[in-house]
Symmetry: C2
Subunit: 199 residues, 2 copies
């Protein structure tokens, strides 16, 4: 089809913009990431950029979606692997996050903005939390069945706590980079595993 050329060029440009935007946000933080600056960085006018994404919110949603895909490939393959090593996967993910402060900031700001019902990105984050709970929940259950966690753990509550800790640690870390997020995630796993209070 002849159309495919033009179409795939649009797709390619979109991808190029997304990749560039991800880098800029990671480097410069959120508040410097105005539509104009991102447009400049990819050699487009402000409207030229929005032509591909519609609104600023949609652009940022796509940036985060893309980031999730990448992270999933790198740190989320505890699903594919035979052994239930989700604990390690989450820890590595958190450790990686500490190296991209701009993205942590973007996530934190955008997700708190979109918490308001009716916000254009509200659905994205609502689903994201749902998906995350399902994924982590399955991982916790597998760990339990593998005997790595006490048989009486409340998998659902542990899942919610684990997600909450990851979000909450980011806040404390942004205000004090000395806070070791991965270390605290690991400690929570130890608490859940019951490796304490036996002395």
């Amino acid at each position: 089809m002849v159309q495919r050329g033009a179409y795939s060029k649009g797709i390619a440009k979109r991808e190029e913009i997304l990749t560039a935007a991800l880098e800029i946000v990671a480097r410069n933080g959120y508040s410097r990431a105005t539509v104009r600056e991102l447009a400049d960085a990819v050699g487009l006018s402000q409207t030229g950029l929005l032509h591909y994404f519609g609104t600023k919110e949609q652009l940022f949603t796509e940036i985060l979606r893309r980031r999730d895909e990448v992270d999933q490939r790198f740190y989320g393959d505890f699903d594919a692997a035979g052994l239930p090593d989700m604990a390690g996967g989450l820890e590595r993910l958190v450790r990686h996050n500490a190296e991209v402060p701009g993205l942590v900031q973007l996530f934190s700001r955008f997700s708190s903005e979109a918490a308001e019902p009716g916000h254009p990105a509200h659905e994205f984050f609502r689903e994201r939390y749902e998906t995350a709970r399902a994924g982590i929940g399955a991982g916790v259950e597998r760990l339990r069945q593998a005997g790595r966690l006490p048989s009486d753990v409340d998998t659902e509550r542990v899942t919610v706590l684990m997600l909450a800790v990851m979000d909450g640690l980011q806040m404390q870390w942004m205000y004090d980079p000395a806070v070791d997020m991965a270390d605290h995630v690991a400690y929570l796993w130890r608490l859940v595993a019951g490796e304490q209070g036996e002395g």
Copy 2:
């Protein structure tokens, strides 16, 4: 002194504005809380209102400071009481928060915005986290010494986790009000106390 009249009138007006703003934010959420709307609500022009607080950021900082003071009086007196009931105090605080969604939203949005170094409210939140960690840390230590927690708990890590969980639960709760924040805080206390994995 004659001056006192004028001076105290300014103070009184400030207090009046703060109280009104707190209510409006609690009711309407953050994004509707523009300086203009808040000004209208107290019968002032935009500039009239900013005359008392300087900038929007300073106004919101004062709102949150005031809220902390109120909360401290109601839920933070585990310091004054003889018995170490901080666990219950935090649980009650969290339960109360679920009744003022607008304030939770304000805190979430404003604290994530101010996470960027150089933001006018950065110092406020940095100190707030520091103070919170000191306060909760002391409470955890007292619980440990009272024998309500295992002697080998890592008080510092538990403190950071507890704060993180409270922040993180708010995010999940905003996207799904069915999430019972107080319940999950209680479960974390149980994990820390080691009341699990003995069956």
